[in-house]
Amino acid sequence: MVWLSHEEWVVLGLSARVAICCAAAVAIPGIACGWLLARTRFPGKTLVDAILHAPLVMPPVVTGYLLLVVLGRRGIVGEALYSHFGISLAFTWLAAVVASAVMAFPLMIRSVRIAIEMADPKLEAAAQCLGASPLRTFLTITLPLARPGIITGLVLAFARSLGEFGATIIFAGNIQGETRTLPLAVYSFMQSPGSDASAFRLVLISILLSLGALVVSEFMSRRLTRFERMAG
């Protein structure tokens, strides 16, 4: 891959960093929300479900705009963050992480939720009768049974982050070396004359990464159904 320019390497490195941080950021909240939706009943569950899934159906630009309104320096939460801690998220690489994490969150929740719903509650009852507390049952039975689904969710979040454009460009901007991730770079190269080759190379890399993620996620969901068959 020596045929990539320095600028393209910077784009790839940044994209990888943002995507990994995105997957890490959605992991624990995603498992928690997936479990809540799969195993609990509470008033307003449908509404919570809808809000968590909203980024999946809303135009990404709108999501980015809302993030700016809430977390921007003059936003409701953003202002407090800045005045108390001196943190300003918008237009930093962390903003790119936040934007893609919000976009990827529904994907993570969906696969975790399905995996936990498929994990047989009868096995959890069996574990409790053997002396395992509810927390230990979750850690030793539910989580391992749902592991393929969790990994699928993380892979999907990683891939979503690599491809995220709309919310990122609004909330994080398109700053070279700071927030210019793969799709933003492709867009920028396409806009500047003579950079067609760079755009093409990055497009190729994007396609390979996306296909790779799909293969991994498909492999994992097959493992999930195998566990299911074994449990049945």
Partner: protein, 369 residues
């Protein structure tokens, strides 16, 4: 000792049970939907009664009045499910140790090796549950429950999903668990044969209520108990010892082993179909009450091999048939028509001869060891 008073309504089903169980092994018999599993799951803590009280060996597990409800994982009860419920992502060895690992060493009653030996699980330790046959999986499930050092073993139709041949392979293991571990057992089944193979102390459930509790021969006169037991296949289970073989006649001669129940009679000699087992081997055989005939005196000139002398200890009148319990060294239930009772002039204390063909005896062990 287990004390259970509980009440629960679910839709049209009302569960209302009040019983005290003090026997080491108690069988719970009833048709499906009679509340057997509900009872067991209540004791285990998986179902919470609407009202009631559950006390095991003076430890209150549940009391709706004082608001006590010990969660299942603190009850220390080994529940063995009909569907095994082995953890598919763990090896057999890890499944076995699951509950054991959660206990401090001084509270562990058995070592992994002891249980593996008891249930002959050595060859499967590295297997995944999906690689086990139904019978093997159920043995692992029993072992897993034992290793959690339960105060009581709750068995919920553990053999229901197995065929007759496999059941016969597992029963000896359950008997061994009963005799070796000394852990009290509650054994739920819709099949009286399985239950009577382990114990003659039963609780009979019908429609969510206890219709009878105690030794089978004591409660059988209740028409509701009789109906349930008949429905679920009431049989005599005879503990026998192999004495000798008659290869020419293709017969095996056996002798009854005395039960805990009081008797002043010496053991009886019976003949059964040829059994490939060494003399001295202890086995169990099944004999249906309807396959036995009674006679007032010993008959001559009949082809029936078994004519066993006994004494009538009880006559039970049930709605359709009469049951006569005869002491032949062990109590034997004999079913006969009311007219048969009249013609023989049967009365408690009478001497009587029990007649049955050797082929009526069905051995419960299929693989002699």
């Amino acid at each position: 000792m287990l004390q259970l008073t509980s009440q629960l309504t679910r839709g049209t089903f009302t569960f209302q049970v009040d019983c005290r169980l003090s026997e080491p092994v108690t069988g719970i018999i009833g048709a499906s939907g009679s509340g057997k599993t509900t009872l067991l799951h209540m004791v285990a803590g998986l179902i919470t009664p609407a009202a009631g009280r559950i006390v095991l060996n003076n430890v209150v597990l549940f009391d709706s009045e004082s608001g006590v409800s010990v969660p299942p994982h603190r009850r220390r009860l080994g529940l063995v499910f009909q569907d095994c419920r082995l953890f598919p992502h763990l090896s057999v060895a890890d499944n076995l140790s699951f509950g054991k690992r959660l206990l401090p060493p001084r509270e562990q009653r058995f070592s992994l090796n002891e249980v593996v030996e008891l249930l002959e699980l050595e060859p499967f330790l590295r297997y995944r549950p999906a690689q086990l046959s139904g019978g093997q999986a159920q043995r692992v499930a029993v072992g897993r429950a034992l290793l959690a050092s339960p105060r009581m073993l709750l068995l919920d139709e553990p053999l229901a999903s197995l065929d007759w041949r496999l059941k016969q392979q597992i029963m000896p293991f359950l008997r061994r668990v009963r005799d070796v571990t000394q852990i009290p057992m509650l054994y739920v089944s819709h099949d009286s044969k399985e239950v009577l193979d382990l114990t003659d102390r039963v609780v009979v459930l019908d429609g969510g209520r206890v219709v009878g509790a105690g030794p089978v021969v004591d409660i059988i006169q209740d028409p509701r108990v009789w109906r349930q037991l008949r429905l679920q296949g009431l049989v005599n289970i005879l503990p026998l010892t192999v004495v000798s073989h008659d290869r020419n006649e293709s017969l095996t001669h056996l002798r009854t082993r005395p039960l805990a129940t009081e008797t002043d009679r010496s053991p009886a000699d019976v003949s059964g179909p040829f059994l490939d087992a060494l003399a001295g081997k202890e086995i169990h055989a099944m004999l249906r009450p309807e396959d036995i005939a009674l006679a007032g005196s010993k008959l001559t000139g009949v082809s029936i091999q078994n004519q066993i002398h006994g004494r009538v200890v009880r006559l039970i009148h049930t709605p359709d048939r009469d049951v006569c319990v005869v002491d032949i060294g062990i109590p034997l239930m004999v079913e006969l028509s009311p007219s048969g009772v009249r013609e023989l002039g049967l009365a408690t204390g009478n001497p009587v001869w029990c007649l049955f063909k050797s082929s009526a005896l069905q051995y419960l062990e299929s693989s002699p060891r």
